[in-house]
Symmetry: C2
């Protein structure tokens, strides 16, 4: 969108529209930066949520030491936007993808996660073939049971193997405590996150005791930033959702951050206490529950089909055809991934349109 | 993607990739065209599934009389690809969207659904303001209880009102029996679809008996094409999913059509009988259940996170890191909407890349 309606009230936008409140976003970014300014860990925020170089740059300017990416395609978009410190927090597997990674490493500082010797050998061969050096980080399974090598001795063995491979630079370790970030009880969440980080930092200690330098010890998400970011030995945390937030993280106790992200939709049909809006599953995801309606009060989203949402009246004033409603996405990461742009507002008026440039970069 | 790997085996594609088997697609399009060639109804296929002008043109060349669209943005993309007969099967509400609609109507033949007098007046005013004529079709609620005016007298009253408004051309009626298309028992589905079409054709009869010309009587989906498409009085059906198909429609008895649509993903981690693939909720939707794994046999997808899928072994041969797996999307419409391109293959080798040009066109 090269031309956008500057100054338009967000309620008058064509719908559906994914909106981002600039002031709330800035406060969220500042709050995380302030918190970490006196803690052991720095911030390496995850771009898998916002997929937007504009936001990534705001995070870097607020002190973030680099950007974490889920996929190589996402890292490529961030690199094209001039971002030079990128951590791909996943395994890069397959000859075509490894070739792309080695290419990316030649014009930006990219670190990639490794959990397996065979994969490390493939990365080493691809890097040496073109005379490049790939920075790698060991992914340690800190209890999530998805990817990662076991902590302790297996991690040590793989680190030693990586150190022996040409074309690779061993930069440290990471572990994502994804099994903790949504635990409803905060004390239990803290305990689980600290147990996970104890495995990670314990692994660092083992490697250091054998003479291996471990520059990076990375973990953490929005749901655990205050525990992981405060855990001695953790060098940086990968929180991503904190900047935009969503209803699920708010519900899970993320009261430190505001929901900067909302959706505007329009009523296209009304029958009694039911209103149909022009936004469905192609506008918002619902794996974390149906998004709450914040405007008007007294209405609830009760069903989504592909292109429609059904609202029911819960004591609110009647809605009329043409009225604008606002919802908070329940899961920001997957909802943002449906949209090409953020409509950025301040004090309720359009200020900018930011491309979600890494949307759909799944490969 | 201006340059793509012609001739590459689909198993060697970088992953994840959304694949479309060209031969299966062509057979599906031909089968529907053949079926309807001796039935009362013509085909006005829905583009909300494939969102791809290339496929829409194949459908038109096989005899379709126009393209149905869910959203105005989708219709704009189809018009930009040179398609001239477009039915927007939803209400267009709000001044900005109505202005866009009137603009579109000036360079293509677009028909829009109406369910309300106030909306009809707004359309009339916008059309007359620029000297345009908007073609409108009455949306009748045939039992789905989402949008639409009640059949019979209320439809007659609204049709008369539309006929009296300048700038509007009354083209007929439509009704979508979305409540029937997935009924598991085919006999029950047939009965429900015929009841829905009886309401629609009954409304047509009432209008005609009062001297109103009803050129279009449109309804139907992939799950009911053989009932709705064979119902006397129905002029065209709006089936969309039949061309690409998906696992849910196959399961619901759509054995007449092949699953042309698949997803290729890659194993990035293996632990015993569990394999992690590089495709998650940003690659495939799961509101209709987890997509079945078709290659290799004996493995099942058991969980999706944002960027990962977890497979479990169900008697299959062991998987290794780097292996390619294939899945069938459970819901084609929402899964295709996550992707920017179809990787089109024939006999398992890449033949073309087709842009999913209307992806994300929700407004």
């Amino acid at each position: 969108m090269n031309s956008y309606p500057v100054g338009l009230a967000k309620w008058d936008l064509d719908t559906p529209a994914l909106c981002l409140d600039a002031s709330a976003l800035e406060r969220n970014i500042a709050h995380m930066a302030d918190y970490l300014s006196t803690r052991p860990a720095a911030l390496r925020p995850h771009s898998k949520t916002h997929k937007c170089p504009t936001i990534a740059w705001k995070q870097l300017k607020a002190g973030a030491i680099g950007i974490t990416c889920a996929k190589l395609g996402e890292a490529e978009v961030m690199a094209h936007a001039g971002i030079e410190d990128l951590l791909i927090a996943n395994q890069i597997v397959g000859p075509r993808k490894i070739a792309r990674l080695v290419n990316l490493a030649q014009y930006t500082r990219v670190i990639v996660a490794v959990e397996d010797e065979g994969n490390a050998v493939a990365l080493s061969e691809a890097a040496t073939a073109v005379g490049a050096t790939l920075r790698v980080i060991l992914e340690v399974d800190v209890g999530m049971k998805r990817c990662g090598v076991a902590p302790g001795e297996p991690s040590l063995a793989l680190a030693r193997r990586i150190l022996a491979l040409p074309g690779l630079q061993f930069d440290g370790i990471m572990g994502y405590e994804g099994h903790c970030v949504m635990l409803p009880d905060l004390a239990a969440r803290r305990q689980a996150a600290e147990e996970a980080m104890a495995k990670l930092v314990g692994t660092r200690d083992l490697l250091v005791s054998r003479g291996i330098s471990v520059a990076i010890v990375s973990g953490g998400g929005t749901g655990t930033y205050q525990f992981t970011g405060n855990y001695p030995g953790v060098t940086d945390i990968q929180a991503g959702s904190y900047a935009t937030m969503d209803a699920k993280y708010r519900e899970a106790g993320g009261a430190d951050f505001e929901c900067a992200l909302t959706l505007i939709a329009r009523v296209i049909s009304v029958t009694g206490d039911r209103a149909i809006i022009d936004a469905g599953m192609k506008t918002m995801t619902h794996e974390f529950g149906l998004p709450p309606v914040t405007r008007p009060a007294g209405w609830a989203l009760v069903k989504l089909s592909e292109e429609h949402g059904i609202l029911e009246r819960r004591g609110g004033e009647p809605l009329r055809r043409g009225d604008t409603v606002e919802l908070i996405p329940s899961h920001g990461c997957t909802t943002i991934n449906l949209h090409d742009n953020f409509c950025v507002t301040r004090d309720g008026r359009v200020e900018a349109v930011w491309p979600i440039a890494a949307r759909g970069c799944i490969a």
